[in-house]
């Protein structure tokens, strides 16, 4: 292979793929039983980190950035005047194998602009995965993008070789989609997602009967939404996320703050800040929904359609529900402990363990490594020392904010200093 050509293609097609934020390589186990190359252990490994702090675990590239569509928010859109390139199937296979052997990556994340037709494109993505599995005996991680509008047969084949499949919803509302991606229809996204979901269900039931049933997309499906491109509210975003989790059993929904790439009037212009803090709050909310037993409408609803930027969503919820606190460390059930601001699930488990041996006081909690700077306002324990003042939500909030520094402080302060 010619390194110069490959180098140029790699630059163009990695650059175009970087806006897809998902990098997860977890959730799949593929054992290397045939003395071939690679395995997936279920826990993804970040082999490096970009300067923006994101994990690098997969070779993330587009097969091509030629595209027949013209989605306004996308650098690859037809009307954009940029350098175009296309990899050959074998080139992607060679790059993946050589990077993998050097322990640079956990596997491949392959997406593509749509050239010719959705099926034509998807066929090539599938060909890469198939070659890696069958010709190279490769057991590392493969994530393929499902091209909206492609056929069910191709989606079925894709799942036989890929660990994860994803369709990016990109725009959380239907009206936004119409405005910004006129070529795309909601059904085009729904169809491949439905197919993959059904195949996974079928695989699971067949697997029970016949052990040798070939694996089907063991790491499931994911999707991504762009935040702040179409004027949507956090409530709309989280409802859509909730719908996706519910309806298609998605493993993950990713939220990607819109990075301005054009002067199109339908969108925030180049130079507008990336809404990173908002993105972070959405991830926190997503986390609370999936692991902490929160319902969407407890966090965002018609009264609070948008998340607070200055406090995290759990603290925000607690401040609106002070009547439920303080909570007793020694008796509260798991669900309630998990709702205490400042207590992560790890701390909750440590507390549940430790309190089997003795009634816990502040000293015990500190030794367990439980961070108390915010939790202390919401807890009582085996001690006569606790927050006795009847603080209002506003007082409490300013007390907590005084004592904490956010990694987003520099992002937050320019906005706050306006007031």
């Amino acid at each position: 292979m010619s390194f110069e050509r490959i180098k140029e293609k790699l630059e163009i097609l990695a650059d175009a793929a970087k806006y897809d934020v998902s990098c997860a390589s977890s959730g799949s186990t593929r054992k290397n039983t045939t003395k071939g190359l690679g395995n997936s252990t279920g826990m993804g490994i970040c082999h490096s980190y970009t300067e923006d702090g994101r994990c690098v675990s997969l070779l993330k590239i587009l097969l091509t950035n030629y595209c027949i569509f013209d989605c306004a928010y996308c650098v690859t859109r037809k009307s954009n005047d940029i350098k175009r390139a296309a990899f050959q199937v074998q080139e992607v296979v060679d790059l993946t194998i050589n990077f993998y052997r050097r322990n640079y990556i956990e596997g491949l994340f392959l997406s593509s602009g749509i050239f010719k037709s959705p099926d034509y494109t998807m066929e090539r993505l599938v060909a890469v995965a198939k070659k890696l599995r069958l010709e190279e005996n490769f057991h590392g991680y493969i994530h393929l993008k499902s091209i909206p509008g492609c056929s069910d047969e191709l989606m079925r084949e894709a799942g036989l070789y890929a660990d994860r499949l994803s369709v990016n919803i990109e725009i959380p509302t239907e009206t936004g989609l119409k405005l910004l991606a006129p070529d795309k229809k909601r059904e085009d996204f729904i169809k491949p997602m439905t197919k993959v979901k059904n195949e996974i269900i079928q695989y699971k039931s067949e697997k029970k009967l016949i052990k040798s049933t070939p694996k089907y997309a063991p790491a499931g499906q994911s999707s991504q939404m762009i935040i702040g491109a179409s004027g949507e509210s956090d409530q709309q975003i989280m409802w859509t996320a909730n719908y996706l989790y519910d309806k298609f059993d998605l493993r993950r929904v990713y939220y990607s703050g819109y990075i301005p790439i054009s002067y199109d009037d339908r969108l925030p212009h180049i130079g507008t800040a990336v809404p990173m803090l908002r993105e972070n709050r959405l991830y926190q909310t997503d986390w609370l929904m999936r692991f902490y037993g929160f319902k969407v409408n407890e966090i965002v609803n018609n009264e609070h359609p948008n998340l607070d930027l200055d406090v995290d969503p759990k603290l925000g919820w607690a401040l609106r529900n002070l009547q439920l606190f303080p909570v007793d460390v020694n008796t509260a059930d798991k669900l309630m402990l998990a709702r205490v601001p400042g207590l992560g699930m790890k701390s909750v488990h440590k507390i549940l363990h430790a309190r089997r041996y003795r009634r816990l006081n502040w000293e015990h909690l500190k030794r367990l490594g439980v961070a108390l700077n915010r939790a202390k306002y919401f807890l009582v324990c085996e001690s006569r020392d606790f927050e006795r003042r009847d603080l209002s939500a506003i007082q409490l909030k300013s007390l907590i904010l005084q004592n904490s520094t956010s990694k987003y402080q520099p992002l937050l302060s320019p906005q706050l200093s306006l007031f």
């Binding site: 702090g53 050097r102 015990h364």
Partner: protein
């Protein structure tokens, strides 16, 4: 007076089995005022009684079997991880941990309000973190004789812990990971992993991919990787503070993309 209070120091050869042999002696002889130290750090002192313990696999195995009925597999793993930290004085905490679990009726190795349990767990956690880092940050380079070669200088002695991971992942290529600090490596020959020591050439520079040792295409792939790394970064999201927290600077010299 001095005699009565003298601290009994058991020294051992630095291996885990050696350490367990010492624990055996502690129990057999009911030693209470005792410390265990690797021979290369144990210092002869006027006031302490020092004794060299010869590693005995029978004895170490008996202690390990005893531990099996008193700890969870995770608890034993933490003991081993903490041991590999090679931290000065770690043996004292390990001994306390072991005493606590042997003295208790039920399994207490997750009682984190006990000082030694907590200490061992914390140290084990740092070792675990280093293990993961090494699994992530090892960078193989292909040598002229078809060997994928990597050098590392981990904070803790993690080679024994990462061997399994690399063996199952890179089953169809020969590789060698060498710990420059501890001067030994693990080598896989397509069948087994073995511990090796080697004489590196006097002019060997671990961060330079010299064409004397490495395959012709090696530098080219490093270059492709560096380029990829640059292209995948999003300038408008740059956050160096977060970046350095993920990849502490002391690891940079081994990551070709950071050079």
């Amino acid at each position: 007076m001095l005699e009565v209070n003298a601290l009994q120091i058991l020294s051992y050869d630095g291996t885990f089995e050696g350490f367990l042999t010492c624990v055996f002696h502690v129990y057999e002889r009911r030693l209470t005022h005792v410390d265990i130290q690797p021979s290369h750090v144990a210092i002869d002192s006027l006031f302490d009684a020092r004794e060299e313990i010869i590693t005995d696999f029978e004895k170490s195995k008996r202690v390990w079997t005893g531990l099996k009925s008193k700890t969870s597999s995770n608890g034993r793993l933490r003991l081993m991880y903490a041991f590999l930290s090679e931290q000065a004085g770690i043996e004292r905490h390990l001994l306390e941990f072991i005493r606590y679990v042997f003295d208790s009726k039920s399994i207490v190795d997750d009682d984190y309000s006990h000082e030694a349990v907590l200490k061992v767990t914390q140290v084990a956690k740092s070792v675990g973190r280093e293990k993961h880092r090494m699994e992530a940050f090892v960078r193989f380079r292909l040598t002229k004789d078809d060997l994928y070669f990597a050098t590392i200088e981990p904070d803790f002695n993690v080679l024994p812990l990462i061997q399994k991971h690399f063996k199952s992942r890179y089953a169809d290529q020969k590789w060698l990971i060498y710990d420059l600090k501890r001067k030994y490596g693990i080598h896989y020959d397509l069948k087994n992993v073995e511990m090796v020591t080697m004489e590196l050439p006097a002019d060997f520079d671990p961060v330079n991919t010299s064409e004397d040792f490495f395959a012709e295409e090696e530098l080219k792939f490093q270059l492709l990787w560096q380029n990829y790394f640059k292209s995948t970064n999003i300038e408008s999201r740059k956050n160096m503070k977060l970046h350095v927290r993920h990849v502490p600077k002391r690891y940079w010299k081994y990551l070709s993309e950071k050079r």
